[in-house]
């Protein structure tokens, strides 16, 4: 009998400190346009505090342990870990200069998984979680692995150049799911992906000194949004998430009415509205986490899945769509039949 995959559990880990836009360092960013907060709609974000022992890796470990526990498993049951993070360096509490081996290898060691546990590192920036979920599902359905931990963790505040307005867009947090074999009707019914590389340089991660500084000793990786970036994004990002979502629904031989809830990546409330309008759904059909948490890049999607479950927007045996966009630019959508996701 063909094996189907199912999302068994989801968990998140969020830093303690909350910073709204009137709290330093966000209140001290120079030259923020007056309409910036209204345009992007982000009111605040959680931010790690190293003094409290918080880091990208510590959040990832916490979310992962909770997800494994909620799935009713022990760490020794995890046979594959797929991790995603745009926080390319500074992510590890054990070695702040580490890039590779990445977060998946860290989790294998720190969670004290079995030696046989395999690790993979996936990157598609903001939709990395979706790509990791696809790989996890494929490996489970191929019978290679039974229990796959997918963890997305981001501390974008350490990639933020606080001399740039774009540093207000991101926050910190981690989300994890366990994907395993379906026991009932759970499965990924269909998926659709596309990339549009025409404007691959309008939003980048650049190794450079902070803006206004030319000192090479200060080089760090900084998220960088070109001045014309927001305007160019409006020419193709709003349209293409609806395109991939509707294509995925069509591939699943379903109609819009069959979808109980949409879990979007969370770049801004305005984009969420535009995606919903493009698909033809009302605001009760999707969950907004970006106003409160800001954009958590790849961790936004598991955070939103968790929030939707907690708020009763997704119930056992529902059909959901997970969809989003990433810089570069990539677009993806997955249609899932949900069994029972423990959270």
């Amino acid at each position: 009998m063909k094996i189907k995959s199912a999302i068994k559990s989801v968990a998140i880990s969020i830093p303690q400190k909350y910073c709204d836009n009137n709290t330093p360092p966000f209140s001290e960013i120079p030259n923020v346009p007056k309409n910036w907060e209204r345009l992007w709609g982000i009111k605040g974000r959680y931010m790690i505090d190293a003094a409290l022992g918080e880091s990208c890796s510590v959040l990832a470990k916490d979310a992962s342990l909770k997800a494994i526990d909620k799935a009713g498993l022990a760490v020794k049951d995890i046979d594959l870990i797929i991790a995603t993070s745009c926080t390319i360096t500074g992510w590890s509490d054990k070695n702040p200069e580490r890039i590779f081996p990445g977060l998946s290898d860290y989790l294998k060691t720190e969670l004290q998984c079995s030696n046989a546990t395999m690790t993979l590192e996936v990157n598609q920036t903001c939709i990395s979680f979706m790509v990791a979920l696809q790989i996890a599902s494929d490996y489970v359905e191929a019978g290679m692995y039974k229990n796959v931990l997918v963890c997305s963790s981001e501390t974008f505040t350490i990639l933020a150049d606080f001399r740039s307005s774009s540093s207000t867009l991101f926050g910190d947090g981690s989300g994890a799911v366990v994907v395993g074999q379906s026991e009932n009707k759970g499965s990924m019914l269909a998926a659709y992906y596309k990339s549009i590389p025409m404007h691959n340089e309008i939003a980048t991660l650049q190794w450079r000194p902070p803006l206004g500084n030319t000192n090479k000793e200060e080089i760090r990786p900084y998220f960088t949004l070109e001045e014309n970036g927001p305007a160019l994004m409006q020419t193709f990002v709003p349209q293409n998430v609806p395109v991939v979502a509707l294509k995925a629904i069509e591939r699943a031989n379903l109609s819009l009415e069959d979808i109980d809830h949409f879990v979007f990546h969370q770049p801004s409330p305005l984009l969420l509205k535009m995606w919903a309008m493009g698909i033809g759904i009302k605001s009760d059909k999707y969950t907004n986490t970006v106003e409160k948490y800001s954009c958590l890049s790849s961790a936004s999607t598991p955070l939103t899945l968790y929030t939707a479950l907690k708020n009763g927007k997704i119930s056992p045996n529902n059909t959901i769509v997970i969809a989003g966009a990433s810089i570069g630019w990539g677009f993806g959508a997955q249609v899932w039949n949900i069994e029972n996701i423990n959270f």
Partner: protein
């Protein structure tokens, strides 16, 4: 060319940016195979190096795959990265994605240019600047992948790190360092496991192509390779595509064959068995 402890290191021209280099090689492979670029359904890049991924030059994201997609005008491709992943897992992941598209081809890239990287000459671990590209075509061949992590006591893994606290290196534009403190015991264990894997496959009469990372790796010469000694000492992670290119006419007619890839960053072997006539 500089001679490392065990592996020759070829360095690319500093002025030829990674994204330009990858672009030219991809254009060459498309032309040589005379394929319709709109039939490329997925582009996966698995780099260690994270620099010069776009025309902005100092970028590590988005990945270089987008530049490839743009330069080829491969409008139906989906692009993503699997960092420091071996060929076996890359091919399996690409194959799985291919089932979700009507397109016929997948483009797999291993792209590394370490101009901004301090290399570990003392220990000798080095990966040459180089680009390997595999163009996969949909077929009815079946794939079977197994991953074999090494024993727990082989904990010395290769690493790629940011020189955040070394101001002198940053001043010299040496942002990164690449290192692996392997020693004779590690080498012994790596080869021991490799022998178990290859003996098992060869016992089933499955020809094997094996990654070659350093001189003592694969000491029993277990692979089916006709690469010359000079090539073998310079290849590191590029052994498998190089072997495929040189020996494809022989391999494509075999009923079964296997790629055995070693990943020093995660310390595992992947074994991808490809069978022509099953299913």
């Amino acid at each position: 060319m500089k001679m490392g402890y065990r592996c020759n290191v070829y360095e690319s021209e500093p002025d030829n940016m990674l994204y330009e280099w990858v672009e030219s090689i991809c254009e060459e492979i498309i032309e040589r195979n005379n394929i319709d670029v709109t039939e490329i359904g997925v582009i996966i890049n698995s780099s260690i190096c994270l620099y010069e991924t776009t025309a902005k030059k100092n970028t590590s994201a988005p990945g270089v795959g987008y530049h490839v997609q743009k330069s080829l005008d491969a409008e139906n491709a989906f692009v993503f990265e699997t960092f420091y992943t071996d060929w076996g897992n890359m091919m399996q992941i690409a194959s799985n994605f291919m089932t979700k598209t009507k397109c016929k081809y997948a483009l797999l890239l291993q792209t590394n240019k370490f101009s901004n990287t301090l290399k570990d000459y003392y220990n000798g671990f080095s990966i040459p600047d180089g680009i390997s590209i595999m163009l996969l075509k949909k077929s009815d061949a079946s794939l079977m992948l197994k991953n074999y992590p090494l024993m727990p006591f082989v904990l010395k893994k290769a690493s790629f790190e940011f020189n955040a606290n070394n101001k002198d290196l940053l001043e010299k534009d040496l942002l990164f360092r690449l290192q692996w403190n392997y020693d004779p015991d590690v080498v012994k264990e790596i080869n021991k496991q490799l022998n178990v894997i290859t003996n098992s496959l060869q016992g089933k009469e499955v020809p094997v192509l094996v990654d070659y990372w350093f001189k003592e790796h694969r000491e029993d010469n277990a692979e089916r390779s006709i690469l010359g000694n000079a090539e073998r000492e310079s290849l590191a992670m590029h052994t498998i595509p190089c072997n495929v290119r040189k020996n494809w006419n022989e391999f494509k007619n075999l009923e079964h064959y296997a790629f055995v890839s070693f990943n020093p960053f995660s310390c595992y072997y992947s074994v991808l068995k490809i069978s022509r006539n099953e299913n």
